[in-house]
Amino acid sequence: MIYGKIVRSPYPHAKVVSIDLSAAEKAPGVKATLAYMKAGDEVHYQGDPVAAVAADTEERARDAARLIRVRYEALPQVSSEAQGMQLIGPRWSTTQPNTRAGQRAETGDLDAGFKQAAHIVEQTYSTHIITHVCLETHGAVCEWDGDKLTAWVSTQGVHQCAQGYAQALGIPQTNVRVITQYMGGGFGSKFAPDSQGIICAKLAKAAGVPVKLMLDRKEEHLDTGNRPSAFAKIKAGVSSDGKLTAFDGTSWGTGGAGASSGFPLPYLYQFPNRKRVHTDVYINAGQQRAMRAPGHPQGCFLTEILMDELADRVKMDPVEFRIKNAPPLAPNAQWVKYFAEGAKRFGWDKRHATGDPTPGPIKTGMGVSAHLWGGAGRGSTAHVDIMSDGSVVVKCGTQDLGTGTRTLVAIVAAETFGLPVSGVKPEIGDTLYPFSGGSGGSTTAASVTPAIRVTSLNALDALFAKVAPTLGVTPDQLAAEGGRIFVKGNSSKGLSWKDACKLIGTEPISVDGKWEDGLSSSGTSGVQFAEVEVDIETGIVRIKRILAMQDCGLIVDKLTAESQAYGGVVAAINFALFEDRILDRVTGQMVNPNMEWYLLAGMSDIPKIDIVLNNMPERGVIGIGEPPTVSTASAIANAVRNATGATIRSLPLHPHKVLAAIEQERAGGTN
């Protein structure tokens, strides 16, 4: 195996003048080079791939990549949303406009809604760009056997990746095998081979040996996706009795070089009269990708900060105000219940009104926020073999992106067979196994577990058919539990699993099955509470506690479900306080493409997190990967507002913003 390295544009916007591979070809250890772009091509962001090299060691590949001489003609770049929206100034592309009108939606009568309002809040809110920061970077190992490709990819979709390889390389999809046994995080950014996966395969073909190409942290920040920014100028009205009356929002944001930036607005709460107009702004920076609940954290933040401002106008408690304006209680809409229950658990009654009155520089505050997600799956297929020695293998072409999918596969099959989890071998993460969807949209649990259940039941039926004659009953009279197959109502009449399986003979039980309706459903709700301490002399925010109230239908495995909620909350703490993709305003290049200045919480930055899962078995399985990360940042920002009395309407809650907001509040507030 040798190692690949990609040469990327240092410029955010340029034309490629020439690419000279000759010096790199002669460098020690180099086995293959390729030009990914050609003279005349336009690069649209720093990190745009231009050429590549493969060498016998990673270090030599890196050194050789620097010998590929690319000449560029630098073009003026767009480095910010504000710059992109200027009528005169730099263009992100030589052929495409800087902005595009996005969605427009209007409901009810806006004028009438504002007439009903006793109070109106008019402010601009925003969230920033963060990257996925998968601890395992994007990349692959590609090995060719003739015109057959095996690719070990860090991916959220093995079958989906196989299609990508086939179509990009012009080979039959049946010639591609993709394997992902374990992977270290995707968060929505790993559904395709991407340029690096295809470059890896091409280098392997050219070199005639397997190539490993994993991106480094800098490449990861620049070219593997991000969460788009979101801005909105909002005018919203509330009646004297605390009912939302009207919402008029003009929003914009950037998904980078030519990519969308939409998000839901207003979020969740019921504004009967509303209008929203969105504009996508394109800038010379890496393109967005789906990132853990795409659009929701942005829309949630923009709406939830507004909600606390409106609540203060009508002098209502934020929880009470939200209950008053939340969608009505339904199986998939539990907010009213969670607001009330959560407030009790959290000690919300100890919350003071906006602005901690206690003396000293440390101010404490509480905040609340709510979210929703879909999380319904379908379409997974699976295969089960039961051998005559009693061993069981369950195969499904899903993958475990760190959520515990492998565990769920084993748990569901084992429970169906009445076996311990160790009695079942779960095989996933390989295109040799039956088709399953990509792991995104929180759909995996709801797609895969019904398929495993159905397929396991099919296999069990086949086993019962083999065992029934021996026990002198019909198959429908049998049950499997506690490692035994026995007659229902007469548990002593039966066989151990092992003895039962001896009846299978030489030809194993080998059955297929697929997802069926009725075992899963859609729609989850969550509410989160945060308590913070703000040092008003330094602007430093410390989070003391988070409470997450969350449902996900039937909880298949408490440990992995809670783990998703913990992970979502931790990621959102980073979104609220630390992570920030910072582009140099002059050159458009990222100044913090690392983990030193791209800040991520450490152990001391993580507070006590309480997860309260509401088990709703009657609803079947629903995904939980995305929802818990949506509302944490809003709850934290509202807690900071409650602590300081100053409203920060943009993320992250950097000390400079906290201090500025406190300063502004002392000078008389924003209005």
């Binding site: 592309s93 979709g157 969308s260 939409g262 659009g295 997974s380």
Partner: protein, 75 residues
Amino acid sequence: MEHLTSPKLTPGVHCLSLRHKGMYVTSMPYPEESQFYDSYDATAYWCVETQRGFGPDGASVRPDCCTGERDCCKH
């Protein structure tokens, strides 16, 4: 995820190489979604042939541009 968050692509109109996450995820629509917010597009698109957000011609990959008018479009 062919619901509010990502527009449906129309065969014959949109290029066959156009991809987004929703096409690779076996999800079910969330029928009540429209109760909580209006439609929006948060979707990231890419071209299955180039494996990036720019098509073979170097221009953006999105439903509004990946239609019959482009030379690289496949139908």
